[in-house]
Amino acid sequence: MKLDEFFVTGDPLIYGADVSIALTLIGAIFVLTYFKKWKWLWTEWLTTVDHKKLGVMYIIAAVLMLFRGGVDALLMRAQLTVPDSSFLDANHYNEIFTTHGTIMIIFMAMPFLIGLINVVVPLQIGARDVAYPFLNAVSFWTFFMGAMLFNISFVIGGSPSAGWTSYVPLAGLELSPGVGQNYYLLGLQIAGIGTLLTGINFLVTILKMRVPSMKLMQMPMFTWSSLITMVIIIFAFPVLTVALALMTFDRLFGSHFFTMMDGGMPMLWANLFWIWGHPEVYIVILPAFGMFSEIISTFARKTLFGYKAMVYSMVVIAGLSFLVWVHHFFTMGAGGAVNSFFSITTMLIAVPTGVKIFNWLFTLYKGRIRFTTAMLWSLAFIPNFVIGGVTGVMLAMAAADYQYHNTYFLVAHFHYVLISGTVYACFAGLYFWYPKMFNHRLNERLGKWSFWIFVAGFNLCFFPMYFLGLAGMPRRIYTYGIGDGWMSLNVLATFGGVLMGIGFLILVYNIYYSFRYSPRETTGDPWDARTLEWSTPAPVPHYNFAHLPEAKGHDAFWIMKEEKKQGKAPEKKPYKPIHMPSYSGVPIIMSVFFFIAGFGMVFSWHWMSILGLIGVLATMVIRSFDYDKGFYVSVEEIEETEKKTTL
């Protein structure tokens, strides 16, 4: 292979990206070396198995990916603002919407949520770490390396360009001969390992690591939503793993699962993809529901309305999520009975979702509502998500869907549910739990600026798209003619997109500003909140709880505070040594080998992939013979730490 085929050439935007990547790398290396931070980075972060630190790393990676996906989005908006624009050519535009979709779902939404789950869930259930801390680090690093593998595609070898759904035959070797699609397959495959491990890890953690006094029906709603999400992950992700593997075989080793030639079945891919893909939508929305429940309850100063209904509605949604996948291709001509069945199952999802909306509204009813930034994001979710939800019901009506399908009406719908659901939740959760992670709050004034600008921009960007869809504008076209009459709404949408970008930049600035100027926390409970994570002191010690807390019902920490007010002080018990897991460099090294193997497979350099896989195997062997059973935190150290922390 020639060097100019290896590196993507010829586009000034790509050269710009090359330069910025090089500068960022050099800058990072310089800073780490100058401040002598390499050792600190390795021992404190890269080898950590602490769920709180892994969560923070997930969130940092997700914010970076949000930036990348957001730049992609703005490039698309720039191209579509005016008719017959020549800013991007068709191929470049195709690559950009493919990476935008893939990155936002797989490498932004999921890690952001999993990051928050990592930080919060063990604390909410009174655990000192997750069930399998080592595996948790493997999860993070395989996700990270998968994301990096996917992301280098645009400077080395070329990006995938067959859409995030990668429908065959288009994504097959015959019609997409470049290496881009291989990046998609292997990047997702490696990151998928991490997700599946997370699913198993947190399922066991939530079921087995709760403080003994916490019953299932007393768990905080975010923990409940995480538990159900993990069950969906465990059932859905193996389907993706298999589908990706089959397509990889097709492309690298000449098999014929999905090809046009020799009796392959292209539509099988669409089915497998959406059997994973639709539950995936709920994987990214249920934790969001959980977070909104916590935040709304906290800032309305009321317990959650209809706790049991909230739990059961999520269980129903999870079950239905596996029964609706055909609604992604009603137009396949499957016949009236099939389309009717999937129309009705899809519509049914609106019922448990509606129950949740009304339960949130009635949690607010008779509350004492404080409009903090976290609360504003959660409140804005309700009306925006309802718009996304009712248009979802419209899309579920198959006969009408023949007209909405593949248009901007659909684009508007899923951005309304994914942004006002998942992204608002990520921001709300970030503002809410930020003091738990970094021991200071984010600035509220900047937060509110960012909120209003982003929410206004979001509605301005995506609401017009419903009308673009009804005006017949299909998704994924890279330009349109002046005669189509789609310009005025596209200009509006671009303007909204720019506002969203500004809102995001203010959020990023807020992180810097608050790091410099926000007062440090003096208590572990800045919001007067209700669940156990807020009973930990500030900063949270690495062992989380010196004494395991006691859960006397839903809103366990609120009950503790009420009892304290009534003068029932908990008796002081002596500390006992705490068993904690040791840090390990194996997960990151194993994942680097995964990256090497994946990179080799992308280019069909089999010596390299074999080398990488041997490395993976070797690290597994090393881990198997690792007899390190962790260590005990001594009573002296606990006393020392507890004295330093406040509360």
Binding site: A162, P169, E174, M347, V351, M394, A398, Y402, N459, G485
Partner: protein
């Protein structure tokens, strides 16, 4: 205040979009009309739901904000209300039933030719997507067109859809909803135009580089004009297999007319491999495998040809 904001934006967009035509809600045939009616029917219910939630939301936020209730107010402990929860489970279920009935009815109605003209025999047209063009075959009239269609008004058309390569979606928004075209499979779609006019059709499903320009025009005309056009088209040059194989190569092409159809050599609804074989310079004749070696040598030439023809 939020709902007010959203509502004012809704109105603003409605006004703005008045300039651009909402094609889907301006049907020109019975299929699109049934769909537009279903859409408008559902929008009514959706606006009602949105209104209920927005009003409740606004009232609660205004009434129970801390600035109004004061910092001493301590909210009551309410765990739920079985009656209310049943209400907001049952009402959505009723709304969904009301929506599901016409949905299912329309789904099945669209599988048949439109009722008003069901006494007429539908005209059968095979629509085949090939990267990145549309090939239309009229088997009974024995004509074939590329990138344009002529149809008579008030006459049901039965489209038999297939793809020579990547999956496309056949869509004429003014006349009705879309349906996929797939290689090796055949789907059927009834459409009909009630008004004489020019409509735009396109591929709605992403097929790669040339997807945006994979469009065609539909001319709906009176029965007489249509007959005239058919006769004219029957005098067009004959479609040869060589000519047809050129169409199989990736690329765009201008509108073309032929007498005779490609169905004599290949039915893409049955044969998923034809276009790929042509592109690879392989024999497209199932029985003749001895040509393989010979044709692979021509591989590079045919690639070069395709470049020239497609631009």
């Amino acid at each position: 205040m939020k709902s007010f904001f959203a509502l004012s934006m809704f109105l603003a967009v409605m006004v703005l979009s008045g300039c651009s035509n909402l094609t889907v809600l301006d049907p020109k045939g019975p299929v699109a009309e049934q769909q537009a009616n279903l859409i408008l029917f559902s929008i009514g219910f959706m606006l009602f739901i949105v209104l209920v939630v927005f009003v409740l939301f606004t009232l609660i936020l205004v009434k129970y904000r801390e600035r109004k209730s004061g910092p001493e107010y301590e909210p009551p402990h309410i765990e739920g209300n079985v009656f209310l929860e049943i209400v907001w489970t049952v009402i959505p279920v009723i709304i969904l039933i009301v929506l599901a009935v016409p949905t299912v009815q329309t789904i099945f109605a669209l599988e048949e030719a439109p009722e008003a003209t069901s006494h007429k025999d539908p005209i059968v047209i095979h629509a085949t997507s090939v990267d990145w063009k549309w090939v239309f075959s009229y088997p009974e009239e024995n004509i074939e067109t590329v990138n344009y269609l002529h149809i008579p008004e008030d006459h049901p058309i039965l489209f038999k859809l297939a793809s020579a390569d990547s999956m496309g979606s056949f869509w004429i928004p003014s006349l009705g909803g879309q349906e996929y075209t797939m290689s090796g499979m055949m789907t059927e779609l009834y459409l009909q135009a009630d008004e004489v006019g020019e409509y735009r059709g396109r591929n709605a499903n992403f097929t790669g580089e040339g997807f945006t320009e994979q469009v065609f025009t539909v001319t709906a005309e009176s029965e007489e004009d249509y007959e005239e056009w058919v006769e004219e088209a029957q005098d067009a040059p004959k479609l040869t297999q060589e000519k047809y194989n050129e169409l199989m190569l990736k690329g765009h092409t201008e509108e073309q007319t032929f007498s005779e159809t490609h169905l004599q050599w290949v039915d893409h609804g049955m044969d998923a491999e034809y276009a790929t074989k042509v592109r690879n310079g392989e024999s497209t004749d199932e029985d003749d495998s001895s040509e393989m070696d010979h044709s692979e040598m021509n591989h590079d030439d045919s690639e070069k040809d395709s470049e020239e023809h497609s631009h």
